[in-house]
């Protein structure tokens, strides 16, 4: 019987690299002499951490898009919500070290004359609560949104556009200072997490390791889902939605499960992202960010999980490099990269590599055809 192995070759290599990084990066940063060739300087640690957080987001996106054919242009929203949850916790940790020395209220509330903490900030002084919210809120939003959209059979580009509308609306909402999330400035100037100052190299190293581990776990989870029978149903939905319905699967429920799961993973990614970059603000909701996330997946290779993560790292590393090396021209480079990928390696880096190496593993789900809408079976009413 052809079972998909939970971990195939590519997956093994991927996990190996990620876990190795989880150990080596902190080690080299903390214990290697700064002048040694392999020493990873302080500024790199959070940077790499950021890449891995993005990689996790890309993974989540690939789950819905690569396997379920749902092109979400709003996944940045789930990422940002997770980030805000963590940000609110970090805000509360500042305590009386804010400029106004107010024990309870964050600075922005003090000078906007808030009298007491709004109800939705309660509980965020507990780390576990923040973590819970970081997963639950994106999950609930995705569930509610998907419940509406999938059962009324909104598909293809229509779905993509309303996901975009969703994140756009959230962005506008969070920009409003009256919302009580710090408006445009968002949440920043964090001091410490679970008692450890964020300035400490050790804390950073730990955060990085945590992110790497989260990425590995995220990969295993996603991999488990797509290699399960549910995974097969989901791919079936992607390729022939109405056929799947006609053999008795209630498609909307399957979409809903995957979409919600993906949103939760995105939330975790956001929560890991914030303490490492040190700020979360509404522009994380900007539709452009969500589109970029889609592009990471495409660059790396849709429907391969590993590729998604790889793409995220490649594109963002490229961004870091370009914005420093050729500040006035980097957009040409980035734009060129996107155009080139789509034209030259439509299957993404991973796809291209597999083709070059001529690897054709039965156990691998072939990369999906690049379509927004799942192909509906050609069984339209024949009048």
């Amino acid at each position: 019987m052809s079972r998909y192995r939970l971990i195939d070759g590519a997956g093994l290599i991927f996990l190996a690299i990620v876990l190795a990084l989880a150990v080596l990066v902190p080690a080299s940063n903390l214990w290697l002499a700064p002048d040694s060739a392999l020493h990873i300087p302080d500024y790199l640690v959070p940077l790499l951490g950021k890449y891995l957080a993005f990689a996790l987001l890309a993974l989540a996106l690939d789950l819905v898009w690569g396997y379920c054919g749902i092109l979400s242009l709003g996944h940045g929203a789930f990422f940002a919500l997770g980030g805000y949850a963590m940000g609110m916790y970090l805000m509360r940790q500042i305590g009386s070290r804010g400029v106004y020395g107010n024990l309870v209220l964050p600075d922005f509330m003090v000078f906007l004359n808030w009298q007491e903490l709004p109800w939705f900030w309660l509980g965020f002084d507990h780390f576990w609560f923040a973590c819970l919210v970081a997963i639950a809120v994106p999950g609930l939003l995705a569930f509610g949104f998907g419940w509406l959209a999938f059962r009324s059979r909104v598909t293809g580009v229509y779905l993509s556009i309303i996901t975009q509308a969703m994140t756009f609306a959230l962005m506008l909402a969070f920009f409003r200072n009256d919302m009580g999330f710090g408006g445009n400035n968002g949440l920043t100037d964090f001091k410490e997490i679970v008692g450890y100052p964020l300035q400490w190299a050790e804390t950073r190293a730990a955060l990085f390791a945590a992110t790497a581990v989260a990425l590995a776990l995220g990969y295993l989870l996603a991999r488990w889902v797509v290699t399960s029978k549910l995974g097969k149903v989901v791919v079936a939905v992607r390729d022939a939605e109405s056929r799947t319905r006609f053999i008795g699967y209630r498609v909307e429920n399957y979409k809903l499960v995957v979409f919600t799961l993906s949103a939760m993973i995105a939330g975790v990614a956001g929560a890991l992202y914030v303490p490492q970059v040190g700020i979360i603000n509404p522009s994380e909701f900007a539709p452009a960010n969500s589109i970029e996330a889609v592009i990471w997946v495409a660059v790396g290779g849709r429907g391969t999980l590993v590729g998604a993560a790889l793409g995220a790292v490649i594109v963002n590393a490229g961004k870091t490099w370009f914005t420093g090396a050729l500040p006035s021209l980097w957009l040409f480079a980035l734009g060129g990269l996107f155009v080139a990928t789509t034209l030259l390696i439509p299957k993404g880096v991973v796809g291209a590599v597999t083709d070059i190496l001529g690897i054709r593993r039965k156990s691998e789900l072939p990369a999906a055809p690049g379509v927004v809408a799942p192909k509906t079976a050609p069984a339209e009413p024949a009048q």
Binding site: M1, S2, R3, V225, S228, K229, L230, K232, V233, V235, A236, D239, A240, S242, R243, T244, R245, F246, I247, G248, Y249, R250, V251, N253, Y254, V257, K362, L365, P366, A368, A377, P378, A379, P381, A382, Q383
Partner: protein, 252 residues
Amino acid sequence: MTIGGEVTSALLYLDDVSVTFDGFRALNRLSLSIGANEMRAIIGPNGAGKTTMMDVITGKTRPNTGTALFQARHDLTRLDEASISQLGIGRKFQTPTVFDMHTVEDNILLALKTDRRPFPVLFSKRTREEKERIDALLERVRLTASRHRSAGELSHGQKQWLEIGMLLAQEPKLLLVDEPAAGMTDQETADTADLLREIAKTASVVVVEHDMVFVRDLGVKVTCLHEGSVLAEGSLDAVSANERVIEVYLGR
């Protein structure tokens, strides 16, 4: 003609069903009933409403008026595709539709009659009787050899059969088959006819077909649709002798 008397015994019972697509009447007060383990061939020129009828039965299209009952108790006009399929109505599309990206056996596996809810599916492990049933089905549709190939690589005829195999995997009580012989070699056509007859022993089968040779092969009761309602019903000879049928087909 009235078929009221058969309501109780009929497996599928359509009465006075009408469907209009912005102005155009696809089905016009159609009445039809299929008995248990009956095989029925539906013929009719293009636009006669054959496919629309199947859409109504499978819940893809909601009729404007009329009743559609399954086993005399399930109102098909209220259920969605999934639940209708779970009632035991399988449908084969005009052009074969299988999951190209999956292997042949996975196509069958997905179609097996099992719990369809996401979480049970997520945690389900393949049991040995599932394995046996898959082997049996593959035998039956003669795809054992290519069980590990991905369905996309199959020939047209093989896809037709794989799809039929998938329908069988659902253990349906009623099978709707849309032009199974289309694009098949004569040999394949004959084999398909045999297969369908065999299936009809355990389930009712409704075959929509243009290919008169094939219909004759099946040698079953024939219903001729025209402009969304039943024009004639009976043995193929009787039907093809019918004045109006000839008129419709030969447009005299």
